[in-house]
Amino acid sequence: MSSFIGKSIKRVEDKRFITGKGRYTDDIVLPGMVYAQIVRSPYAHAKIVSIDKSSVESMEGVVAVYTGQDVAESGVGGVPAGWQVDFKNGDTMKEPPHPLLVADKARYMGDAVAVVIAESRELAKDAADLLEVEYDELDAVVDAAKAVEEGVPLVHDDAPKNMCFDWEIGDKTATDAAMASAHHITTLDFVNQRVIPNAIEPRAVIGHFDPANDKYTLYTSSQNPHLIRLLLCAFVLGLPEHKVRVVSPDVGGGFGSKIFHYAEEALMIWCSQRLGIPIKWIAERSESFMTDAHGRDHVSKAEMGFDAEGNVVGLRIKTFANLGAYLSTFAPAVPTYLHGTLLQGLYTTPAIHLDLVGSFTHTTPVDAYRGAGRPEATYLLERLMDTAALEMGVDPAELRFKNFIPPFDGVNEPGYQTQVALQYDSGNYAPVLQRALEMVGYEDFRAEQAAAREQGRYLGIGFSTYIEACGIAPSAVVGSLGARAGLYESAQVRVQPTGKVSVYTGSHSHGQGHETTFAQVVADRLGIDIADVEIVHGDSESVAFGMGTYGSRSLAVGGSAIVKSVDKVLEKGAKIAAHLLEAAEDDLEYANGSWTVKGTDKSVGFGDVSLTAYVPHNYPEGLEPGMDFSSFYDPTNFTYPFGAHIAIVEIDTDTGKVTLKRFIACDDVGNVINPMIVDGQIHGGIAQGVGQAMFEGAIYDENGQLTNGSYMDYTMPRADDLPSFEIDRTVTPCPHNPLGVKGAGEAGTIGSTPAVVNAVMDALSPLGIKDITMPLTSERVWKAMQG
């Protein structure tokens, strides 16, 4: 019996949000709290000549001013990277210090040079504006490929040629041979532009050291509170972990940008250690633009080789990945293990090689942004596919069908071993494209397109069939690849004496609806009312441990940990029930919240068993009282969602404006607990992927100035830029986790970007236009149309 799984249960968290009762970090006011404003470098690269603290220290209302020198003198280093990638020759990647405040040089526009703390936000801002900092501006480099050329300015003196690492994956010899023998090679130069995540809640931190109790509390708008605590304690400030509480209350979106341990988190605690009062720092939007970790920023040359029948025979790629000025927490993993390992895509390509350089530049650090590496891989593959189809005169859908990996369920048939290290768990790829083609009405569209072209109208259709590695991740696997953390998840299920259930999860919800989905899983498995289940997350004082939410991992990993704990509850419950029913455990069955002796009407309910566990008067001998179980779940493999996306666009020939007329997606994210929530994840993901294709992109000038760092200048999709989406799904369960789920958070973003760009290129193909660099703004499209 399944009462809740698979149903679109309305979200339990919505009540507080629609009534204005959400509690985000900036909503929290602590007694005696003061406010911090960070003074940031206006230059991308500059020597800090002097800072005159006395210029503001005496201002009324100013509490303290600290500089990089103060932090350095306290012996505090910087924030660490959480992943190590080695050079091809085995040398360790370059990992320059990433201080909380810089003392010597600013290395990107927005680098923090001082913090001013005052009694109000306004006073802090006034004082920060008046702080006298003398800079000596230096030349900057912003481009990932240019950064590793001879003679360019160095970001860090100990990283020659600005190289953090070089890296490769796949078989170079086999790939070179395959390309040499290819019948046709499609080649494209790619710029996967830098995008800025822009969660609508700006980052927010409150640091509070309470000297009376030697306790530290950090409120932070993070996807990842426990990992922040670990890094803060073990690597940055050397704090006693048992004295540190990290709370991530309601968080207004993350999309990756709130995974990382930011310097401001450590800095607010460091400042509070000195002052003994709570200190709040809230990013202004312009500050978020400069200092939230950015995403993407790859420059690549990619070649896909085909035999005469249209089978892909080889894939060869050279990529420069921009890491920004410092290594953000997961930065090294993104262009390598989350990108290079996905280049198999859905195709049987027998030879693949990626050669990649990760370089430092005088720009904001780059790290995981929704999809993280997988959108970059998918963009290469799917742009190459549609371009190759055009060049070879074959249908782009047919070319994909021809090259798809055959179906395998991962149970009776083994997983699919790729050429780039991963083993896909289960997959059945043709049906998602087949379904998407039905939804779009492919033949009718081609007829409409031909008729439109007769009238001088440019309609286009673009395809994208993607795969992603989610449910991050088996600890031993990622450990062998350089991760400095395990990637399991924890869950505690505490049954209260009255049979109500509190669940403490290490996953963090910042829009994904865990409070509903996780409750569905628990209520369903226990056969109780969903209202009797409470999901608690985001507070290290109540949740024992957690690895946070990213990489579409919450349900696949965090949900699996919950299932393990629920199963322990049922196991113990059965012992108590058997005792109460004077029956053997084997003779019991559990359904609808009761244990029943098979074939009889003798039964005992979950509530009675729970009460008995806490009032153990009539109780099995030797069994501990209580009903409270913790579990850790470490997955055995990644999960591999996949899908097919199709975009239909029309180009305004006078202005170059692209209109996204339709967007069709058929995704397979494994089993689905709450279809409404999964659909919402797909919608939001599509919008962000479309954003990259059509509107978004950070623009740095040659001096390293971020020239579009505000909502006046950086364009994200608004409601009237998008159509309603047409979505459907197939279900290929994950064979290796108890819920059979694969993850849905990133699918939309990964699949949608190339579909849109391919559609524009299809529309413009009569003009001989093969490629336009994203974002496909009116200006860029119009210019391309002028030849």
């Binding site: 009534t19 919402g680 909502y711």
Partner: protein, 161 residues
């Protein structure tokens, strides 16, 4: 330094001195502690701070508190009446019109005026009406549905706020 401000917020009159440069959004959040109104940007583009002033949707980061002298302000906290959710609040809940919830108060307050101006909007009119509000989570798909749901409900009830 302060100047006297008298303003009615969610039906309750408040009168106190405020610093002249105080923005309406900061007055609502910091002085009245009505934290349902959010701040998502510093350029009046995101719409998270939208409230009703004398029945019209305004971005409260774009007004000084003193400009609200004598005005009636409604924030998200004041939208439900007598414990009954507004049809737009119902609509957003029923149609999964929110994820992280941060843009939601502004979206709902904007939509109040949208439906006030046009009780039977087309999808295109709804999308156009939301131009001043960013959502990064939903792709707007379910926000549009939420507003359509509320419009239907309000027409059936014959009520319009």
């Amino acid at each position: 330094m302060g100047l006297q401000l008298t303003v009615t917020v969610n039906g309750k009159q408040h009168s106190q001195e405020v610093e002249p440069r105080t923005l309406l959004v900061h007055y609502l959040r910091d002085v009245l502690r009505l934290t349902g109104t959010h701040i998502g940007c510093d350029t009046s583009n995101c719409g998270a701070c939208t409230v009703l002033m004398n029945g019209k949707a305004v971005k409260s980061c774009t007004l000084l508190a003193l400009q609200a002298e004598g005005a009636e302000i409604t924030t998200i906290e004041g939208l439900a009446q007598n414990g009954e959710l507004h049809p737009l609040q119902e609509g957003f809940k029923e149609n999964h019109g929110l994820q992280c919830g941060f843009c939601t108060p502004g979206m709902i307050m904007t939509s109040v005026q949208l439906l006030d101006d046009n009780p039977n909007p087309s999808e295109a009119e709804i999308r156009h009406g939301l131009e001043g509000n960013y959502c990064r989570c939903t792709g707007y798909h379910n926000i549009v549905k939420s507003i359509q749901y509320a419009a239907d409900a309000m027409r059936k009830e014959g009520t319009n706020v």
